[in-house]
Symmetry: C2
Subunit: 308 residues, 2 copies
């Protein structure tokens, strides 16, 4: 099974209480792809500039990620600069330079067309919709969005939501889409717009899965909560949400059958990958991770929440 | 087994998005006692004024709670007025009248002296220490505190923490005591001050139990996270933390043996009782609750977090 992901491949300059890094390789599609690559084949659609070369390509190749869909355009790659000095749960953006991303027109390589799974990372909903419509044969589509699109591009976003099986967003975004502070009511309102499954990420408090009916089984349990890891030190939370999405969707893509139990374990793998992402700056930890470490942490998560 | 609880029995005027109630029966000891009474015998030490009569006593008697330790003093009972209009997770206090509580000198009835369990609800740490020292034979002591005592009565509070087996506080309080924003580090710093067990309540996101070594078994798992219920409507969060403490400590007091598994189930019962408390104004829901409803919700919590 393989996932095609469309989203940003970028450079980030990041400051946290643990220090500062200039121009780390980043972007939602990068974090997602690295995290998902531990579970299934991953193919990336993005655009980069002249500053993206063999050294950056090697990061993807080391994890067997297909980057034939990363287009090279003249100019500079997307660049983001932010800090988490006051609050590790929320980035303060100091600078965003869209660069080659400003005129991004996603192109889907023919070799990607047999992907059964599609992930629409956080980009302009108009582009998300275009990619989704270009891949009508996919089995399961998941996506992300952010406050900017929710506030100012509502109509385009609603078109995307109609075509999503799974939406992954955080508390603030769920409440903003729904216009309700109550999480359960907000979840219902969001799901009424399209997604059959909704994952709401609570940062250090874990994440909740809401589902109406499961894909192959009628679900009796309609919500599931996965914990987050209590980390000694959160070095850099950048990309934790995208890594969660990669672990969650990557695990799903690797399963024979999608059952309520599969979705529960996927939530745990999402939390596991999100927790690893925070342990070092940028994608450093995901680049050095092993499947054995992932499975050991999965067991630690089970210990953290199981009654007996 | 029985628990003696010392704390406030009070009247609360409460405004929430769901409405307003004048002078509900409240106070930390009231919520705690009602919640714990579903699991074990409970005895209350508090002071009330002339405005506390047979109607209020009947609330305790209906749950077989021993109130011989509630002293009647001339004047009015403790009164609190607050609202949750902006934020259901944090009360805004409009008025606090200590009244008879200003000169409260806890007196322990002889009939209470064989209690094996003692709960020191949120009152002046000087009084908490006095009660704790008057009951040297208790098997397990738990307690609560709040930002006011942490900020301005630190020395007295530290004397209390030395004598506690279990401290139950919220995130903000844990971080304030420890001076660290990292929850794991904050928990360690708080436990270094005395309590062998620490319960940090995260409001709608549940609660985490930290423990060093268990009482009768060496624990391999040192943290445990219980979820909170996703409620259709939080009518009134007043007393949710005290109800959590009542469910948690009441369940522990009813067990033959204190094992890591017992503590995990106690965390679930704490969350269960906290969730019920929020469903109606004041203590209304706790007054009308049945053990069958409690056990059904316990199972729902298990469904909410269990992988398989």
């Amino acid at each position: 099974m393989s996932i095609t992901v469309v989203g940003s491949v970028a450079y980030d300059s990041i400051e946290t209480p643990a220090g500062r890094r200039e121009r780390c390789l980043g972007g939602a599609a990068t974090y997602f792809a690295l995290a998902a690559s531990f579970f299934c084949d991953v193919r990336v659609i993005a655009v980069v500039g002249d500053d993206f070369g063999p050294q950056q390509e090697a990061v993807f190749h080391a994890r067997n990620i297909d980057i034939r869909g990363i287009e090279h355009a003249p100019g500079k790659s997307f660049f983001w600069e932010g800090s988490y000095l006051d609050n590790l749960n929320e980035a303060r953006t100091h600078n965003t330079e869209l660069n080659v991303f400003a005129t991004f027109e996603p192109k889907i390589p023919d070799a990607y067309r047999d992907s059964e799974f599609l992930f629409l990372a956080n980009i302009d909903p108009v582009l998300q919709k275009r990619v989704r419509d270009s891949m009508p044969g996919v089995k399961l589509v998941a996506g992300d969005t952010m406050n900017y699109w929710i506030k100012d591009h509502r109509a385009a976003l609603e078109q995307v939501l109609k075509g999503l099986d799974i939406l992954l967003i955080n508390d603030t975004e769920a409440r903003m889409i729904a216009g309700s502070n109550n999480l359960l009511r907000a979840a219902r309102a969001v799901m009424a717009l399209g997604p059959r499954f909704l994952v709401v990420k609570h940062g250090e408090y874990g994440a909740t899965l809401f589902h109406g009916a499961s894909l192959q089984h009628e679900a009796t349990e309609r919500t599931f909560r996965a914990p987050a890891m209590l980390l000694e030190e959160v070095v850099d939370p950048t990309g934790a949400g995208d890594s969660f999405a990669g672990g969650f969707f990557g695990y799903l893509a690797a399963q024979q059958e999608l059952t309520p139990g599969t979705f529960r374990r996927a939530m745990f793998y999402g939390s596991v990958m999100g927790s690893f992402a925070c342990e070092r700056f940028g994608t450093e930890r995901l680049q050095q991770l092993s499947r054995a470490e992932i499975d050991a942490r999965f067991q630690a998560f089970r210990e953290l929440t199981h009654l007996d």
